[in-house]
């Protein structure tokens, strides 16, 4: 039993230990910032000294200028917004559709068995290959891009979540059955709540996959968005634009990932889901 006494006094030794932990944290953070600064500085200096050809590598000062230009043209937030919107929608749809499909397959063992080989083929198929088909079917626009993002993440979600459902401790299921639980109750009382950590984990994978789907979709459709800027910049040999967009993309992707991590923390607070294996 763990009871936390917040008012206890801290010994000198413990104080020193806490200081060390803190110092280490500061060290790690400053090293991280330093690496980033050094990278950009080196890039800039090497371009300045003509050690690298900034026509094909671009350089931080020009990237900063490009961001400024995009901003004053008003297209910076437009393209970023378009891509983020497509990613979020594709991500949410992929997760929801995948989870619902997994629930259906869990419910019907027979159906899961029947569809198994198809799922295996779909999961090994590079979904990007379906892109042109969607464009023909749905049209060259946002809908196709979202469809590609969804396709990329949905099969992984189905397999992950279904495996999560099937990995639920049989004794836990037996326990609710001894109370006379029906299949729906087995699902809502045990299987679903036990699988929440798996679903959250698949969110983290899906957000990455959705970015892949959206960027590839924008490469193919090319009307707006960060993927469009990259392709366009590449075609007109404006590496400044390409590099700038890649940087914006990294920042947006990192932010969204952090969002999912934050969501995970929110759902798992109070020490829930911290595994009951320690007994």
């Amino acid at each position: 039993m763990f009871m936390f006494d917040k008012k206890r006094t801290i010994s000198k030794e413990h104080m020193e230990f806490l200081m060390k932990v803190r110092q280490r944290k500061i060290l790690i953070l400053s090293a991280r910032i330093l690496i980033l600064l050094a990278f950009f500085l080196l890039w800039e200096v090497m371009a300045e000294l003509k050690l690298i050809d900034s026509f094909i590598t671009s350089r931080p000062s020009r990237i900063a200028r490009t961001i400024g230009n995009l901003y004053s043209e008003g297209t910076l937030f437009y393209h970023t917004g378009v891509t983020c919107f497509e990613t979020v929608v594709g991500f949410l749809l992929g997760t929801i559709v995948g989870t619902v499909a997994a629930i259906i397959l869990w419910w019907s063992n027979l159906l899961a068995k029947v569809l198994e080989p198809y799922l295996v083929v779909l999961s090994s198929l590079p979904k990007i290959a379906l892109g042109p088909i969607f464009i023909v079917w749905i049209g060259a626009g946002t809908a196709s891009i979202i469809m590609i993002a969804l396709t990329v993440s949905v099969v992984v979600t189905i397999l992950e979540v279904l495996n999560g459902f099937l990995a639920v401790d049989q004794d836990k299921i037996k326990l609710v059955k001894t109370f006379g639980a029906n299949r729906l109750q087995v699902f809502t009382k045990v299987v679903m709540p036990s699988t929440i950590p798996v679903i959250i984990n698949s969110l983290k994978v899906n957000i990455g996959l959705s970015w892949v789907g959206v960027i590839v979709g924008e490469f193919l459709v090319s009307k707006a968005g960060l993927g469009y800027l990259i392709v366009y910049g590449g075609q007109v040999f404006q590496l400044d634009l390409v590099m700038t967009t890649v940087l914006i993309l990294s920042a947006a992707a990192a932010l969204m990932y952090q969002g999912v991590v934050y969501l995970e923390k929110l759902l798992m607070k109070n020490g829930r889901y911290t595994s009951d294996k320690i007994e």
């Binding site: 004794d171 037996k174 609710v176 001894t178 006379g180 009382k189 036990s194 020490g271 007994e279």
Partner: protein
């Protein structure tokens, strides 16, 4: 006092593609109200199968199980089942955990919730109602698991190796604890175990099963000369060793 549970010529076979395995064969057993029966047997003799049959989780190949005069078909909440591990759900608080059975049987109302809360209070879990299982010790978790089982007011408790996941000291203490609660709540209980000492220390009657297919080999009415019978005190009784040796011989263990 009549029999709470009657088991009649019960047999159960498992089917696989290559074979058919008889798990238990022709078992006859009746458990009186308020009685504590232990079932011991070598591993894989179908002890747990027998409990699952009584609980209605499995359907017998032959024979029947009768609880309070009614044949068991499918799982019924007349039976309270305790498993090896407590299986408290880590995403529910202790209170939410112990009302699980009431939720499933749609009998959660202020009255039943009140009686569950009283059980928690009586057995020292009042301060832990809103805590999560990982904040409790192993013994307390097992106690919470028992209260979860008692919440639906079952006619009979089935303890399936209920203490075997605990370390030895905790196990003795928890067995003592659970025994006292069962007696105080005046419940009928069947304990399945492979621990001979545990089976004798808790039971009024010990049923020894044979190797698979499990059938009844012998039955011992445990009469110990000790006052204030508890599992701990039972182990001190002079007759304890005698029963132990006899059951050990019956089990016929070869390494």
């Amino acid at each position: 006092m009549g029999a709470v549970v009657k088991v009649h010529n019960l047999s159960m076979k498992y089917h696989s593609i290559n074979s058919e395995i008889a798990a238990v064969e022709n078992i006859n057993l009746s458990v009186e109200e308020g009685e504590f029966v232990s079932i011991v047997g070598p591993s894989g003799c179908g002890k747990s199968t027998l409990l699952s049959l009584i609980a209605g989780l499995l359907l017998p190949s032959e024979g029947q199980v009768i609880i309070e005069g009614k044949q068991v078909i499918g799982s019924s909440h007349q039976v309270g089942y305790m498993l090896q591990r407590d299986h408290l759900f880590e995403w529910r608080t202790i209170l939410e955990n112990v009302v699980l059975g009431l939720e499933i049987t749609h009998t959660l109302n202020p009255e039943t919730k009140g009686s569950v809360t009283r059980l928690l209070d009586t057995y020292g879990l009042a301060d832990f109602k809103d805590k999560y299982p990982n904040q409790l010790s192993g013994g307390m978790r097992q106690r919470a698991a028992l209260i979860r089982t008692l919440a639906t007011d079952p006619k009979i408790l089935l303890l399936d190796e209920a203490f075997s996941s605990l370390d030895y000291q905790t196990r003795l203490a928890v067995a003592e604890d659970i025994y006292m609660i069962i007696k105080r709540e005046n419940k009928t209980a069947v304990l399945v175990t492979h621990d001979i000492a545990e089976s004798i220390s808790m039971a009024d009657r010990v049923v020894v099963l044979t190797r698979r297919p499990g059938s009844i080999k012998s039955v011992y009415n445990i009469e110990l000369s000790c006052d204030n019978r508890t599992p701990m005190n039972s182990r001190e009784a002079p007759e304890f060793r005698h029963y132990f040796n006899q059951i050990w011989k019956d089990l016929d263990v070869h390494v």
